[in-house]
């Protein structure tokens, strides 16, 4: 029985944090779920979509996070319960709308769930979205383990309805993508009827038009909601203290850091000296609870990711109550005990406690550590990120790089977020020269393309993926076309949101629940905007480079769609197009005339160097059979034959 449908209250499952969130939403009878995919948040909507039919949930992969939140909000003011999931930088995208939602208020329970990625394990930024809660004045919850992820999600809907406010809930990679045992709660029958009432006056929370004006009274209402939230949070079971009545050191922590703190105290055997105050309601903080716990001791250590959010907010309370609780010695981010970058782990907490309490502890014998480090340096070669074997992006960047070098005018590529971000690395032949937020490649290129009046004569290219195209590239492309910017926009169309696991987008034919949807063709969009549009298959390297070179001779905004499906796509994965082998007698290897072009430069993981024979060789297990390498070998030593199907 899947945890999605198990009605057996008390049943125990091993669940990912994201699954626990899903179950929590199901137990809260969520009606609508929307999101734009982003690691580590994507599984939430993915798994809710599996329950969509049985539990009558509308699940949508929206075009971007702002629209996703708008979709979820519509459900809320129609009286339904909704959840909207995104990764940390998605909150930035949605934040403009969020600012207004805070003022307008909500009706049915609505939860904005964002998964931050401390350490940027699968991100190109280390954004801390918790600050939006304080900035926009919204309640923020942070589950401290897997069970809480379920229970807190469920509760967040009730809280939202009680406060008439959207609730922000923050997870992190080490909760969302980690797994632990979770005990299920009650799963009721699905219910919910949608009706948007607007007949009374603006400001009526139940049946008025939902607008933010006049602003001052709405702002007052919002701040009163936060006061109410504080009162509720003072009694919340998600704020817990474990440890001696009067510890030597009080750890204040939240989220996954709760687990690290517990582990560290256990490792040091310091359970009788250290207490842990785990906060689940991180904004607005309940001051009485904080004061009560601050009074336990005069040494306080903050353990959180990434910036000192909890730390600074607690310090405000500590300053205001100093007469009552005394002067504290604080350890955390601000005094340098903890770093303000990267993720935490038990060892960092161990080191901090060791230092503060002068405890002797060695995690690894010095001699052992030294030998292990030596072996690591000598025997474990670093694994740089690379495109997968058979990845269309390797071929695309090969074509882009070669065309730009041939063209010989120092042309360059602007990019953004997706697997193709790796285009700045050797696996993409270091072709990409700028990479920022979704859609910013074409936006930056649009700006570059207007610098001709200052003497810029470099060809300017932008790349983005098909999903990113719909997410945020279209306005920038319109900007480039309208302003007659000299740019080539290359759409790396691999038929899905590949990086996060093939979620559909407006260019694909199915919705999150597997039902048919009309396709919006990016080519049609570009043409309707007035751009010339050409297609090419990046695996056809000769033709693609030719087209790129020809486009570089032209002016204005030009669009080239490089279309080839992702090698990991369900349609392609495990199916080789070609059997590829190297004729080692023909391979020129290291000699003048080749210099190991395939392995040294093209460096597909499926094509390795045979040291004994001093020639290239295909690794059958890894090769995806795309056959592109056969076309780049200068001596024709790489042979491809169509694979039997």
């Amino acid at each position: 029985m899947s945890y999605l449908f198990d009605t057996n209250e008390g049943a125990r499952y091993l669940m990912m944090g994201n699954d626990a969130i899903v179950r929590g939403a199901l137990e809260a009878n969520v009606n609508v779920a929307s999101a734009y995919p982003g690691t580590p948040s994507s599984e939430i909507i993915e798994n809710l979509s599996k329950a969509s039919l049985k539990r009558n949930i509308y699940v949508e992969w929206s075009v971007n996070e702002k629209v996703a939140l708008e979709v979820a909000f519509a459900a809320s003011i129609a009286g339904l319960r909704s959840i909207c999931a995104m990764k940390q930088n998605g909150v930035n995208v949605a934040s403009d709308f969020l600012l207004h939602v805070a003022l307008s208020g909500t009706r049915g329970g609505i939860v904005l769930l964002h998964c931050d990625d401390p350490g940027a394990l699968s991100s190109i930024n280390e954004g801390e979205s918790r600050h939006f809660a304080r900035m926009i004045e919204l309640p923020l919850l942070e589950p401290g383990d897997f069970q809480e992820a379920l229970e807190m999600t469920k509760w967040a809907f009730d809280l939202s309805e009680e406060l008439r406010s959207i609730i922000i809930m923050r997870s992190v990679t080490r909760l969302s993508h980690a797994s632990g045992n979770v005990t299920l709660g009650r799963l009721g029958e699905p219910e919910g009827k949608a009706l948007f009432k607007f007949e009374t006056i603006p400001g009526d929370p139940d049946s008025g038009p939902v607008i933010t004006m006049p602003v001052p009274p709405h702002h007052t209402i919002l701040q009163n909601k936060l006061k109410k939230a504080v009162a509720i949070f003072e009694k919340s079971p998600f704020n817990t203290y474990t440890g001696p009545e009067k510890p030597e050191l009080l750890i204040i922590t939240c989220s996954a850091c709760n687990l690290y703190s517990r582990e560290a105290v256990h490792l040091l055997g310091a359970g009788n000296r250290v207490g842990i105050l785990k906060i689940g309601t991180t904004w607005p903080l309940p001051p009485k609870l904080i004061t009560r716990n601050l009074a336990r001791t005069d040494k306080v250590l903050f353990v959180e990711e990434v910036l000192p959010f909890l730390e600074e907010n607690v310090k405000v309370i500590a300053a205001e109550t100093a007469a009552e609780v005394g002067i504290k010695k604080f350890y955390g981010k601000n005094d340098g005990t903890m770093l303000t970058i990267n993720e935490m782990n038990p060892d960092i907490v161990v080191d901090a406690i060791k230092k503060i309490l002068s405890i002797e502890y060695t995690s690894m014998d010095d001699g052992y550590a030294k030998r292990a480090k030596e072996h690591l340096a000598a025997l474990a070669p670093v694994r740089d990120l690379t495109f997968c074997p058979g990845c269309p992006h390797r071929a695309s960047f090969w074509n882009l790089h070669n065309a730009l070098e041939l063209d010989n005018r120092r042309g360059f590529v602007c990019g953004d977020i997706g697997c193709y971000t790796l285009g700045f690395l050797p696996c993409g032949f270091s072709t990409m020269k700028t990479s920022h937020s979704m859609g910013s490649g074409i936006g930056i290129a649009s700006g570059f393309g207007k610098l001709t009046q200052f003497g810029m004569d470099q060809p300017i290219l932008a790349v983005c993926g098909d999903s990113t195209f719909f997410h945020a590239a279209i306005p920038a492309l319109i900007n480039a076309i309208h302003n007659k910017s000299d740019v080539i926009f290359v759409l790396l169309d691999n038929s899905g949101t590949a990086m996060t696991g093939f979620q559909p987008h407006p260019g694909t034919p199915l919705d999150a629940m597997g039902k048919d949807l009309p396709i919006i063709d990016p080519a049609d969009v570009c043409r309707s905007l007035g751009a010339s549009v050409e297609y090419t298959d990046p695996f056809n390297t000769e033709e693609t480079q030719k087209k790129l070179l020809a486009l570089m001779e032209e002016k204005g905004a030009r669009v080239l769609i490089m279309k080839q499906m992702c090698a990991l796509s369900p349609e392609k994965k495990g199916k080789k197009m070609f059997e590829v082998r190297v004729d080692q007698d023909i391979c020129r290897g290291d000699a003048c005339g080749c210099s190991r072009l395939c392995t040294r430069i093209f460096r597909c993981p499926g094509l390795v160097w045979d040291h004994e024979r001093q020639a290239a060789v295909i690794d059958e297990v890894i090769c995806a059979g795309c056959g592109v390498c056969a076309g780049i070998c200068p001596s024709g030593a790489i042979k491809k034959t169509e694979a039997a199907r």
Partner: protein, 210 residues
Amino acid sequence: MKAGNLIHDPYNAIITGVGGQGNVMASRILGNIMSRKGYYVTIGETFGVSQRGGSVMSHLRISKRSVWSPQIPRGQAHIVVALEPTEAIRVIAAYGNSTVRVISNTRPIHPVGVIAGELKYPSLEEIRIALEELAADISFLDATDEALKLGQPILGNVIMMGAVAGTGVLPFDAEDFRNVITETMSKDKVEVNMKAFKKGEEIIRHAPAR
């Protein structure tokens, strides 16, 4: 089901490999097996960008008492299961100790730096010598080669799981494995997975002990 005592509690296992080797799946199956037997299980995984050719590591904590941190503390691994041999060394450097047990696949996956000629990939003998120095017990398996004989190189991860069962460090066997996979896999895949699991059990039982 009443969970028996473990040789360490929490028992810390690390399954390591390279993106695409089925590391995450192996850790989830093993986690589910132990969870069903009544243990608390915590799994920490790294995937996402790291899937693109990078090292992938899963931390499993198995305990009778509670959930633990999804990251094993430094020097605290009890067993390291390496789907790729140099990854065993990488993991040991952070999580190893003189009593750790290592089970490693022999099949190398060359990092791009090695393919490009910028870095050197060690010989299996060099890896063996290093691991023998750092670990209490090591076993090498030709898991990928055996998996290829079964027609699917990805089954190397299941062979490695069979090997873990064969060592007896954790209380589970082929039937426990079958119970979990019959729920998560399509029927036609179960038998070949069982074969792979049993192959791993068999190899480890006949492997020369150090």
